[in-house]
Structures are given as structure tokens and as C-alpha cells.
Symmetry: D2
Subunit: 336 residues, 4 copies
């Protein structure tokens, strides 16, 4: 339950005290300049009636038990998350492009320019890489962050990059416009709390085995820190079928649409692990109603230091952008 | 390996004998009026060289080891399967509509007329129902088959219905234009053989836990009986996520497109089990490149004897058909 | 709901009529010489009260909604299924041994003798093989059935073999002591009905994708034909993890124990697909409380026509039987 | 590849330089007082021959590509990890008992005493809890750590507890004898590196979605920091079947046994989420060859602040310990 309150909380102290005595936890959240009181679990309706009469309470929201601030009951109107110059969640679809890893200055700037030219609205590039093996390329680190900033300066595109540890959130936030939480950290709660506190836009990928309910609760960890700037990104779940790297669960998009006001992107690159499938799945993602896409691009995918099977080369990406436009129009959206 | 041969087989008897001695099985298939010799496993290249020299052999095809007749190596050009008046696999998408179960004369005829009017090309209706429990409604049986035939007569739409047992194939074939193999029978090999022998068009649904490779081999059971009229239908796989009844694996469509010449449909009704998701997933299926859709429709879904959660009512279906047209156009296809 | 009735049903006709008018289906089942009336769904309690007063009703059972005859509510005492000379479900564990496929007379008789000598209580051998590809070895067919009968005659061990089609049930029943329903036919309802009607002992394997609830309902299809001789066999489910062929779900054993009176076996051979894992998983299956095991054995696994990776050779099986005895004792059971 | 080296590395500098030029990464690891050079990927055999001739190299190990130090090729003899007074991996099984969460002084001490009395060798208790929802009980934090230390002092049992963040590793290491990495952090690589650097014993749980291969590579992240004290713990994977909370993959135990020298425990409490299943699965885990168990115990499970469905009460645990002894003996192990 969410209680929204304007100026002062003193007036409802008595009622809060009552709830607390009944074992209901109350969390005070600073939300877009107002104070919310989030209770858990929902109070009994008798107690609610009492609360309602307290005239100082602006609004009472009874929401799905666990993902409260993420829910449509709390905010019915779709959220638009501003990331630098880009709005995520509006009628215009957001296309995030860029390489799996930032590998060097020339490599990244070339991809960045091409992304800009083809009509992408955000730039991606991994600099801290979560690799299955400790012996694999772990990313360029802070040097890579500087290249992200340089590319933004040159192209004007805001940048998103993954952060792996709570103690690096500040560092990454210094350079990037949006912090990505990767699939392996989908339930790394201390990291979620840390990016919540940063108040930066957060791109929250679904974990490989995360249910929709768990995913929304992970988002709630960010929201409850007073950070409303969360964008969800479906990237495939792990199933018995290994013909694609993961199984892209596109039904998650309309399912989430009913449950939450947060914008929803789709990443067909990681979902399929196969460049030939990126185009068809990108079209499907737009048709199903996603607010945008994250697509890995590279000038020479076959020599990339990671994810060489799934990155599009720059002309493939440019062609795909042309093909996506009519699909977007067919469902009332646009790419440019 | 497939050896295609015209008039006579006598000329290559010697070579076949050689292969047989090396433990290679040879199956003779009557394929569109010609004789194919399908070998398994593929012979060694030395033996192939010898075979190649036998001038009586028209064509040699080395294909993926197990699904040979289904493979692009055997036939690169996409198959178009004719079902009554409808072509499955052409530029025009095929929409199959109708109720989960045929429940009675009035019920079915009304749905059939509405399907026709909204632009569907085929009619569906279950009369033998594979139900999880023996205590659930098992379908109208032969009485239902007669209603299928009556609806076809009235609307001109060909009909597809599920067959559950080899010994009923002839009965169902007497009334229906296309035989459906359901998900639970995806590896019921004697049933696959029986529908293969019927030479009727077959709609082969994917099993809930069937890999792409297993699915194509199931199709091969039909093809190897000399029945080239197989249409695949993705209907969702079973995964850890229960927010939808199954997880619709749309990447299967472009994956199959590369491997096989057979047409591919998508069933968003069974995949999601939720009527609110049927529309978005139908659009996604078209955008990803499916050759058509199977959508459950009913005049009064909430009172239906089966699948009441997922059937569209008749006006919802009519509206959806309107919305699908621009999506189809955006990928170079059409609905009408 | 199950109503158990002795001599005559006439006395309760009125009540049955009432139930029927309320849309409750009633199925009459001939059960161990008595007549049961199984209703679906459960009647309302008001109607039940009325029924209860009808003195001709012997016993009323309100059971889990869908698997009624399989439930503990219907029969609390564990079932013991007699198969030839063997009792499945008693304190003595039942070990079923034999090759994946019957390949020939000498091959099968040798394995049969070794199984007998090592202490197995039943013999297995596939003669109709459900193969993923139509080009793979499909079994010896009726010739194989005759070899099964011959091996039984020589060793005194009852035999179990898989049946794939309703129309072959009679043929197989002529030779075998127990009919196996394989994983791919776990929801082949017409086959389940056919083996139900045969009244033969049935070994019902779990499907790769079958939930516990669906599995019990599949058993119900056999039971509702008046055939109480059903034995369940866990053989692994399909999951994301491919290090073993399937994932053996041993928790299914104690879960089923609470829900059903039917005996439960475990097949570690098909579950793992790897002979090195058969021994450890066999021990675990006994420790968890299974009523026995099905283990594939072959005199020369590496040259077997099917499942060569998972069959134990004859001395490995003999050794394993020695190792299983103390594990059985540690949980109050025995092998011999 | 692992190169083991005694006193000095200077002698092989030339060869290392050669490898490096060929794009092979070399990591120097301080391993039980010696220096290892781990290369990735494995060098070509020609280069290896050259390396072999360098007499200063003590030993060359060619191991599975990615999990090198964890592999049997590197160390064939099973590792025994000492945790306080307990040895994990020896003939005596290790039973870890204790509540899901440390809830207070009296609660924890009572459970600790009972664990000791029933024969447990280690004590568990969560103080930093990774909860799906931000509104759920998050653990007592440092106050809980002090209670862990107090219980150890009183009972003499070493304690294991979960750590969630790299920056808290030092704090937890001050109080606990073993650091647990939970399932949700199975691929939290910065956390794995941090516990690696601590050189403390580490209990590494399998993730819900982690393959065996990924799990071993996660262990490698700890090992490569020179920390050989890693114990693996299977706790169930996520599958389509929801009758248990997770599906306990007991085949993982013998599979890992062949691949790695690290000890392997099993956690039947989290795997099943159901106290009635803990006993049977504990027996199965011992029979399959696990080196021990982690079992949640609580004096009053129904009022526990977390995991109330799965914790055994203290007398259930005492009884279970009695029942496990004969199972352990039947496979050549012991509990006490």
C-alpha cells in the first residue's frame, strides 16, 4: 500500500503507529519531490478506513502485494524516462546501438558515428564485462568509460553501460547517462539499491530465470530508493531449447504493460545469440508493443572480443533501421 | 541423403547393394510422382562418387542427417501447401479461425460465418479433444465432423480438425480438409505415419518440450510416407515462467525458415492462454515472418466448454483482422 | 467424487438424476468387482448431504478434483501391483533389467539369464521403438515379442515391453506381462484408454514435460477403465541443463507418495543417458523411497542398436545389485 | 593450462613471452605457497613442447578449457576444505544445520545447541538476507554476526553465513568461519573475486539457472585468487515443474565428482521448499555420494521470519540425523 503525502507527516502519526503495532512495515520514500509511505503487507480494510479519514492523507493506493511503486495501481499513466536527450517510453521508439564491448578508441567512435547516422537514439558499449570465465576479456574499465564520454560528445547520443558493483556506481555515473544492470545481476539487491540511490536512469535487464513478478520486485528495489527512472529490458530466458542462446519471451511485453507503468525494451541480440535472427525478432518486438530495442553493432563482428556471433555490422544495422520504420508505423509508433 | 530418380531404378541396383552392405538403410519414397531413395546415414564420399557416376541418378542431395525431406538441401524453394481453396505458404497469410471445440450446430455455424466475414481462410474446430483429465469434455466426435462439413459447405472455407488415433484418420479425412496433430502427439510416431499415408494436408503442432530438430524429424515421419503436405505450427513451449500458459518461441519461425521449406504458422491462443495477449502476439508472429496464424474464436468465450480464457469473441476477432493488415503489409505480406 | 456401491444402483437413481441435472458428469467404473460412480466435478455439499442419506451408498469419497481413483483420499493403503510372479509396491524392491531393444535371440536370452542371476525380478526389452527419426531402428516387432515370451519361459521372469498404438495393445498383451507407456505417449489418451481396457499391468512413464498433476491424470485414464494395475515410473524431465540427457526429479517420489497409492519406480538409465551415473542415481532412488528401478543392461552396450551410452554391461549390473542391497536395507527395504 | 613452478619464474620468461605474443593470456596465481601460471586458452602443442623442455617448469597441466584450477586434470585427489574444526570432503559427512535467518539471541542459541547435540558439524544462520522484495525482512546485519560468533563460542561449531556484497566481505569474515555465496549471486563475479581474495572457506551455491560448466567457472573466479577453499552446494534448479520450489538435480553430484576435486554438498531445504521432502531428499543426497548436507532447522518453523515452509523443527532434525546414519554407512560414509 502506498500513502501519498504532501507537506507534513505529523498528522497521520497516530495511524502509522497503529499500523506498526499490527506488524505492518512502513517505508518512507522521497518520490518526485513528495513523500510516500509504502506499507507492507497491505493493512486490513478496517485499518484502512481509519487511515482514509485522516484528512491529511492525499491518496491511498492498494496495489499488488509486493511490487508497489512499479504497479499500475500506483501510477496508471505510462512513465517516460528521460536519458540525456532521449525519451524512453514515448510514441517514438528508442533504439540503442553499439558494440558488446568498447575495444578501443577508433573502434568505438566509428560504431558510434554509424549508430547516430542510422538513427539510433542511444549508444551502448560494455566496459566492465561480466564474463562466465575469469580468463576471458573483462573490459577496458575506466579507460572505456572515457571513450563512452568522448563518443557522446562527438555524436550527441547519450550512453548506457553496465555496472557490476555497488562501489563502482559513482564512477560509472560520472561518465554514463544510464546504468545497465545485466541479466546475471537481476537479483543483486545491493547493486539495485546502489543504482536506486544514484537517481540515474537504470536499464534493468531480465535475468535468465527471472519471473515477471521477481523482475518487477527487482525494479521495486530501485524505485523504493526514490529513483523513478527505471526501464525494463527483456533479453530472453533460459529454456530447454538450445537452438537459440535464450528464448525471447515477447509475451512479457504485453504482460508487463498491464502490470506496470515502466517502459519496456527488448534486446534481440542477447536473446538469440545469432545475427540472422536479430532482424526478424526486432520487428516482432516492435509489433508486440515494445518501447524500443537494444541491438549490438560492430564494424567487424567476426573479430569482436565478445559476442561475435550476434553483432550486426554497420550496414546491416543501417538496413535494419530502414526495415523497422514501416513495422513501427503499422502499430502507431515511429523510429525517427 | 536423397537420391532422386525418374523412370527406373534398375540401373542403380548395384550401387544400392553396395550401400546396403555398408549398413546404410535405403527407403524408397513416392514423392510427387517420382521415386526418391532416402539413405540413412549419409554414405561416405567415396561411395557417393561412385553413385554420382551412375548416370541414371538424376540428382543427389546431401542433407542434414536426420530430417532429410524436410530440409532446404533437399528442396530450397518454399513449399506451398494447398488446403481446399487456401494456399498455405504464399505471400497471402493464412488465418485459421474457429472455436476450441465444436459444441453444437448453431454455435459452430455462427462462428464459421463470422470467420468467413472477417477474412479467415480456414476454419478450425475440435471434435476429438485431448483432455488432461478423463472427466473433461472429450468432444462431439463424428457428429462434430458432420458439422464441420456443413460449415464448409455453407461458408466455402476448408476445415482443419485434430485427429488423435491412427484408426480414426480415415474417418476424419472423410470430413476434414486438413488433419491437425496436436502438441501432445508431436512424437506419436504411429499417428504421424498414419496421417502421412493419408496424403492429406497435415498441420503439425510443436510439442511443449519438442526441440526444433525433433519437430522436423516428426515432420519427416509424415514426409517419408510420400506426403509433402506438411505445415508446421508453433504454439509455445513449456518453461519455468507461468505468467503465460506457454512461452511462445517466435524465434522458431526464422530458425525453421533457414532449415526447412515447409510453411510455418503460429498459434497465439494456445501459446498464451490469455485473450488479451492474442492480439499483440499475433502481430509479432506476422512481423517475424510466419505464414499465418491459428486463432481461437467463439461467440461467447466465457461459456465455452474448453479454453474459455483464451478465445476471442467474434467482434474482437474482426477488429484484430483489421489491425493485422498493416502489420502484414509492413513485412511485404497481406491478409486478404 | 467417488461413490462406492455394492449390489444394485437403482436405489440412488434419483440422486444421480439430481446431480446430472446440475451438470455433474457421472462415470460408472467396474473396480475390483464392485461398481464405483465417479462424479466430476465434486457436487456441492448440500447435494452430498442428500446423497449421504441414501442408505444404499456404501462410501463417499471427496478427492482431489481431477485424479480421483489415483488419490489417497480414495484409497489410502498403498497398492501392490502383481506382475506375473512379481509384486510391485511391497517391501521388496522390484528391479527391472534388460536391454533397450531386443536385437536378436542370442542377445536377448543372454541378457535375460544374467538379469535373473543378478536378482532382477522383471525383464524389459523394447520391440516397438519410438524413435525420434523415421530412419532409425524401429525394433523387431512381433518377432521380438516371441523372444520376450521365450526368455520368460526360460528364466521365469515376467516381461514388460512398450506398446505404441491402441490397435497393437492386444497383440502385445498376448506375449507380455506388463505394458509400458513411454514418455512420448504420456498424454496419448487413446493409448491410455486402450491399456486401461486390457486390464493388464501398466508401467506408466512420466513424460519429459509432464507435471505431477498431469501424470496422475494420465494414470486416471487407465484407472477409470477399471484397471487398477498402474505403476508410475519417473524417468527424468527436460530442463535447461544438458549435462545429463534429462534431469531426474527424485523429489517426485515422496511428492507422489503423499498424493497417490500407486507404486512408483525410477529409471536412472533414461534419466541420465550416461552409464557412469546409473549406479549413483539408482542408490539415490532407493534412498528416497522408490519401490524399485528400471535399469537398461546389455552384454555389449557399445555395439547396441540404441541407447549405447547408458546401458550397463552384465557385470556392471551384477556389481550394482550387490551395492544396492545395503542401501535398500538402510531404508527398511530389500532387493532379494 | 596450468604451469606449476617452484622458486623462480625467470627461467621461463622467454617462453612466456612467446606465449603472450601468440595472444595467450597468462595469470600468475599464488597457490598453496607455490606459483602457478595459468594460461588461456591452451597453447598449441608445438609451443607446449618448447615449454616442456624448459627444465625449470615443474609440471604442465592441460585441462578443460575454462575451469582449470577446479579440474581433475589439475588436481586429481579430492580436496578437503577445513572450516574451523570441521573437514569438508572427508569420509565423515558434514551436516550444516541452523535457521534460515538469525532472528534473535535466544532463538539462535537454542537452535545452535540443538544442532550441536544432534551431531551437526557446522552452524548456519542468515544475517544479510537476499529477499525478492525490498519490503521483506532483510536480516539482522552486524548484530546477527555477533550472535553467530557467540553461538560458535558456546557450541564449538564453526559458522557459515551468506555475504551479499564485496565491501562487506571483510566484516563478515571477522565473525564467520565460512562465507556463503547464495544462488542469486552465483555469477556475481566481483563478489566471487572478493571472497577469493579473503582466502576464507567459501560455500558456493549453484544458481537457479546455472549449468555445471558455468558453476565450475564461478568457482574458478575464487580459485584464481589463490583461494583453494571452495565447497560446492547443489540447491535445486528452476524448471517447469512447480510442485517443489526447485528441482533438486542430484545427478550433479556424480557429474561434478568426475570433473572436479572440490567437495560437494546438497541443500534439500531450499531445493524442495517443503519440510516433508527434506528427509527423503537428504537420504538420496547421501546415497548419491554428496559430502554432506545443509539443512534448515528452527525451534518453531511456522513462526519463522523466512522460509517457514521448509525448516525442520529441532526434534524432526534430531530424528533425521538418526535415520541418515545407516544410509551413510550403506555407501561407506558416516555422520558422526
Amino acid at each position: 500500500m502506498v500513502i501519498q503525502k504532501g507537506a507534513s507527516l505529523h498528522g497521520i502519526a497516530e495511524v502509522l503507529d497503529l499500523l506498526s503495532k499490527k506488524g505492518i512495515e512502513i517505508k518512507s520514500v522521497d518520490w518526485r519531490g513528495r513523500t510516500l509511505l509504502v506499507t507492507h503487507p497491505n493493512p486490513a480494510s478496517a485499518d484502512l478506513a481509519q487511515l482514509d479519514q485522516a484528512t491529511i492523507v492525499e491518496r491511498l493506493v492498494i496495489s499488488t502485494p509486493r511490487a508497489q511503486l512499479a504497479s499500475r495501481e500506483f501510477q496508471n499513466e505510462p512513465s517516460i524516462v528521460r536519458v540525456g536527450t532521449a525519451d524512453v517510453g514515448g510514441q517514438k521508439l528508442v533504439i540503442i546501438a553499439g558494440p558488446c564491448s568498447v575495444e578501443g578508441r577508433e573502434q568505438f567512435l566509428e560504431v558510434a558515428r554509424a549508430a547516430k547516422q542510422s538513427g539510433a537514439s542511444l549508444l551502448r558499449g560494455g566496459v566492465f564485462k561480466p564474463r562466465t570465465s575469469p580468463y576471458e576479456f573483462q573490459g577496458l574499465g575506466e579507460e572505456g568509460l572515457r571513450l563512452l564520454a568522448e563518443a557522446r560528445e562527438e555524436t550527441g547520443l547519450p550512453v548506457v553501460t553496465e555496472v557490476l558493483e555497488p562501489e563502482r556506481v559513482k564512477l560509472v555515473a560520472k561518465y554514463a547517462d544510464m546504468l545497465q544492470i545485466g541479466a546475471r545481476n537481476a537479483q543483486n539487491f545491493s547493486l539495485l539499491t546502489a543504482v536506486g540511490r544514484s537517481r540515474m536512469p537504470v536499464l534493468l535487464k531480465r535475468g535468465m530465470m527471472t519471473t515477471i513478478d521477481e523482475w518487477l520486485q527487482a525494479a521495486e528495489y530501485v524505485l523504493v530508493e526514490g529513483n523513478p527512472n527505471v526501464v525494463l529490458c527483456e533479453r530472453g530466458i533460459r529454456t530447454f531449447d538450445k537452438v537459440t542462446r535464450n528464448t525471447l519471451d515477447l509475451a512479457a511485453v504485453p504482460v508487463l504493460r498491464k502490470l506496470t507503468h515502466l517502459p519496456i525494451l527488448v534486446d534481440p541480440s542477447h536473446a538469440t545469440g545469432n545475427r540472422d535472427l536479430v532482424g526478424p525478432m526486432a520487428k516482432a518486438a516492435i509489433a508486440v508493443g515494445a518501447d524500443g530495442l537494444m541491438i549490438e553493432t560492430h564494424q567487424s563482428p567476426e573479430t569482436a572480443l565478445s559476442d561475435s556471433q550476434q553483432q550486426l555490422n554497420l550496414s546491416e544495422f543501417a538496413d535494419l533501421m530502414e526495415e523497422l520504420e514501416p513495422v513501427a508505423k503499422s502499430v502507431g509508433r515511429r523510429i525517427r
